[in-house]
């Protein structure tokens, strides 16, 4: 256990120094700054106002860019160390593969989760100073969503990282996964729905398999559906489930995806040639 924390700690320190981490933090911090500069908290559009509106915009942008950020930066974690022979040296010390792998996962999780979370907290604190009311329900839900979003894509990234032998290949696959998940939200599904060949239930089931769609719908689930501009799939889903169940599902399901993929990645990592 203490070796797991050691690996996590070292990975964290290494990440914090890395250029990608600086850019990553700047992007999410900058997003928040931009929202404030643009005066989003003050405008009254479509029934949202103040911080809720800002948080909603933040989460909607985050749903699109966080996955690709996590995938690109994490997918090279194991495969990159293998490519550059770092793994060959680091694993020549008596450290269990289990602790090494999960330590890396844990360290990476903190690196990817903290900046997006902190950006949101900074926004809320700043909003309070401006006299806005804190939408606690939305804040808690979005914290949960950011957590489960980070888990899901981190798990997928580690899976790819141990599956693929070279880091360039890993990068390519990561990009592909992101595009596919992105393309399968509403747009593609609306098409299917319009063609009327498949039942609505089936389309919604497919939509819900995609964690990105789950996040998208969950992000607006606390708001009154009448007021939001939501895709048809999202509308059906919110109509179908009770709010409580859907919120729970939207947080649990991606976490499970993350764990399953990370665990599959571990099996591959520990059972095949290491270098």
């Amino acid at each position: 256990m203490n070796h797991l924390l050691l690996i996590a700690y070292l990975d964290l320190k290494e990440s914090i120094r890395a250029n990608w981490f600086i850019i990553y933090s700047l992007v999410f911090g900058g997003l928040i700054a931009l929202f404030f500069i643009a005066g989003i908290t003050e405008s009254q559009v479509m029934g949202f106002s103040g911080l809720s509106r800002l948080l909603l915009m933040y989460i909607q942008v985050t749903i699109v860019i966080l996955p690709i950020f996590i995938l690109i930066t994490t997918v090279r974690s194991i495969s990159g160390d293998r490519d550059s022979h770092i793994l060959e040296y680091m694993l020549s010390f008596p450290i269990s593969l289990q602790q090494y792998y999960w330590g890396k996962v844990f360290g990476r999780f903190i690196t990817v989760f903290l900046p997006v979370f902190m950006a949101m907290i900074v926004a809320v604190v700043y909003g309070i100073f401006q006299g806005a009311e804190v939408p606690w329900g939305v804040l808690f839900l979005y914290t949960g969503l950011l957590f489960s979003m980070s888990s899901a894509f981190l798990g997928i990234a580690f899976f790819i990282s141990s599956l693929v032998k070279s880091s360039e290949m890993a990068l390519g696959i990561a990009f592909f996964v992101w595009i596919v998940l992105l393309a399968f939200i509403d747009i593609a599904l609306i098409g299917l729905m319009l063609q009327n060949r498949m039942s609505e239930g089936l389309i919604i089931a497919i939509a819900l398999l995609n964690p990105m769609e789950v996040f998208r719908v969950a992000a607006i689930s606390l708001f009154d559906p009448e007021l939001t501009v939501i895709g048809p799939v999202a509308f059906y889903i919110l109509d179908l489930f009770s709010q409580g169940i859907f919120v729970l599902l939207s947080i649990l399901y991606p976490i499970i995806i993350g764990i399953v993929f990370a665990w599959a990645g571990y099996r591959i990592f520990s059972r095949n040639d290491l270098v």
Binding site: H3, L6, K13, I86, E88, L97, N272
Partner: protein
Amino acid sequence: MIVLNRLSKIFGKTRSLDDVSITLHRGDAIALMGANGAGKTTLVRLILGYYHPSSGTVRIEGRDPIKERMNILDQVSFVPQLPPPIKLSLKELMTYICKSSGVDEARIVHYANEMKLDIAPNLHKSFFKLSGGMKQKLLIAISLAKESRIMIYDEPTANLDPKARDDFYRLLRENEQDKLALFVTHRIEEVASLVNRKIYMDLGKVVSDEIC
């Protein structure tokens, strides 16, 4: 004692190691030689438990290095062919090694000094920013500080200046008693006075094995 029994490793169509059976004893200091691509590094990686053999077995003190990697690696020091571009600082790297292997940091510093590498001014520098020779010196210092019963060096002197090579061989001479030392090398004259056994490989096979 390391026992390789009918060991083969195949990558795709390349037979990197082909039915090798050798036994290396405690007290042996072995020079492992052979042309580029002969399979030396592959052999070392099998001993370290990195590769799963395509056929045959590796046993170290009767144990499987894959199934019991912690026990085995506890007794092994290894310096790779090329120092990897580790991004940790020297301090962090030493923390990793000391915590994972129970090495005393002062011993690393001691051997680094013996290798004429001054750690203190570089402590917070990334390992990969050291010069090639400095990296190798540090890895050598770590390998000696670890006090292992099995020492494996995959051409560790490639980037060292002549003076550093002398230091390295002197330190080895002081430290090799009662150990098993395996040197992968292309320059037999350098290690000639250290070794008591020479193994030549070619195309994945052991072609000669002399005691001297």
